[in-house]
């Protein structure tokens, strides 16, 4: 276990940019709902929980690799750089998770959480899409070493699921990978399987990212951009 001081620095590395993204994005959605008269706050909060916070986490995870000014130094210290990146990923996802637990708590208190979700299973509403988009972002970041490209992939995947929910929900195998099964799902009995598949595949994605980060030389080579 590394000292808490190290974690403190990694939180600062994430910077206010990364820390601001999840709450601002959530606030933007709430503001929009308010403009509409704000008659269905619960649904808005649920959408924030399953759609907005995971998106923010995913784009944050996609921005970890490729913009580190001190990368050459990082790669020569005994603390391996990929464990540092993993620490930063934990900070990014952890922050989104903190907010998500808060929002989920509000929903559970106000009864806005769908009936069949308890205090514990309700957490899967945000956890599954958050770790999935986080894993995708981390892998894409490791592969492209460009936050622009990795962020583009995450956001595209997100909007495809928003605009064409039928594309993924149409088949059994792809339905287990649909991110918004709680808010826009069509097959309620598949919910648990969907959540667990998402979490499991997210771990695979992150593991692939971890493997890709093993070669220092790739990280050092600044992309011609």
């Amino acid at each position: 276990m590394r000292p808490t001081d190290l974690w403190r620095y990694e939180v600062r590395r994430a910077g206010w940019a990364a820390l601001l993204t999840p709450p601002v994005a959530t606030a933007a959605l709430l503001l929009l709902a308010l403009l509409d008269g704000g008659d269905d706050t619960d649904r808005t909060l649920l959408a924030a929980l399953e759609m907005v916070l995971p998106l923010a986490a995913g784009v944050g995870a996609a921005s970890l690799v490729g913009r580190d000014p001190a990368v050459e130094l990082q790669l020569t210290v005994p603390t391996s750089y990929r464990s540092t990146l993993l620490r930063r990923l934990a900070v990014t996802l952890g922050w989104a998770a903190l907010l998500a637990v808060l929002v989920a708590g509000i929903l559970l208190a106000t009864g806005g959480m769908p009936q069949e979700r308890g205090a514990l299973s309700g957490q899967l509403v945000w956890l599954a899409p958050t770790v999935w988009l986080g894993g995708l972002g981390f892998l894409a970041g490791a592969a492209f070493r460009s936050p622009a490209a990795a962020g583009g992939l995450v956001t595209t995947w997100w909007i495809v699921q928003q605009v064409f929910p039928g594309l993924l929900q149409g088949r059994d195998w792809s339905r287990t990978l649909y991110l918004f099964e709680t808010t826009r799902g069509a097959v309620p009995e598949g919910w648990a399987a969907n959540r667990l598949t998402l979490v499991a595949t997210a771990l695979v994605l992150a593991g692939l990212g971890w493997a890709l980060l093993g070669r220092a030389e790739r990280l050092l080579r600044e992309e011609a951009e």
Binding site: P3, D5, Y9, R13, T76, T79, E217
Partner: protein, 295 residues
């Protein structure tokens, strides 16, 4: 720690060889590395620091093979490295940055780290500015932060890539003196374009050209390459040809040229005593290269 390099080759994708079959032995102590732009100095140092994987050849540092993961980790535990372009985190102060690097280097105890950072800030004369953000630092101040960072974990191997570039004369001299003092039982590999820095600190050095070793020996050996090849010519006419002009100083009756050439560049040329810089320049001249490898 001895560095033993044999047959080292590094090819960048789509480029020629940056290192072309390099054999070199770097003993414990201070060792200088000279070479023109693009000669391969940074590439060599990055391989030694475990940043790049060689395309071919062997590198052993203190007995460890740096091409393997275990060897690389063992070396990185005792390594202080100053990259040619050190990027810093602009939102941190110098003290925080060093504290963070200390953590990355495994100095987990807070009090130890604080003390060490304080000492090093003193060494690089940044104590007064230590709590300002790095964003507002001048180029030379940033280099000093980089130097302090390299010394943090009391490294047994110090690899510094052009550490004195951009430092003011006082700081430069202070730093190179510090390096010499540190050397002792450590290995310090210093690459630079400032030949004088090598002359003042190293006993031994190597010169690279186009990825190959063109000289390996003592400072005196290299200086002697320019024996009977350094001339002083005063002329108001065109610059002397057939050699390398080292300097041109305005004097009465024209310019006084210092020229490195195998034959006197003018009938009235006067011979001068060579410096290390003259020896380095003489290496690049025809006739000098053949016997360069002879110690």
């Amino acid at each position: 720690m001895r560095i033993e390099i044999s047959g080292l080759v590094k090819t960048y994708k789509g480029k020629g060889r940056a290192l072309d079959g390099l054999d070199l032995l770097v003993p414990t102590g201070m060792f200088g590395l000279l070479g023109a732009n693009g000669a391969g100095k940074t590439t060599l140092m990055r391989i030694l620091a475990g940043l790049l994987r060689p395309t071919g050849g062997e590198v052993r540092i203190g007995g460890y093979d740096v091409t393997g993961r275990a060897g690389r980790q063992a070396v990185q535990r005792v390594l202080g490295y100053l990259p040619q372009d050190l990027g810093v985190y602009p939102d941190l102060s110098a003290r925080e940055f060093l504290d963070y690097v200390g953590l990355l280097k495994g100095i987990d105890d807070r009090a130890t780290r604080r003390r060490r950072v304080g000492e090093l800030l003193e060494v690089v004369a940044l104590t007064g500015d230590a709590d300002r953000r790095l964003r507002g630092y001048s180029g030379g101040m940033r280099r000093r932060v980089g130097i302090a960072q390299a010394l943090l974990a009391d490294p047994r191997l110090l690899i510094v890539d052009e550490p004195t570039a951009g430092l003011d004369p006082e700081e430069r001299i202070r730093f190179r003196t510090l390096l010499s003092q540190l050397a002792g039982e450590r290995t310090v590999l210093l690459s630079t374009h400032i030949v004088d820095d090598v002359a003042q600190t190293c006993r031994e050095l190597a010169v690279l050209a186009k990825g190959r070793l063109v000289f390996r020996g003592t400072v005196d050996d290299l200086t002697r390459r320019a024996d009977r090849r350094v001339w002083s010519v005063v002329t108001a006419g065109p610059a002397p040809t057939g050699g390398t002009v080292v300097s041109a100083l305005p004097v009465e009756g024209g310019l006084r040229y210092r020229v490195v050439a195998s034959v006197p560049p003018a009938p009235d040329a006067e011979p001068l005593a060579p410096t290390l810089e003259d020896g380095y320049l003489a290496l690049a001249q025809p006739g000098a290269a053949e016997d360069a490898m002879r110690p």
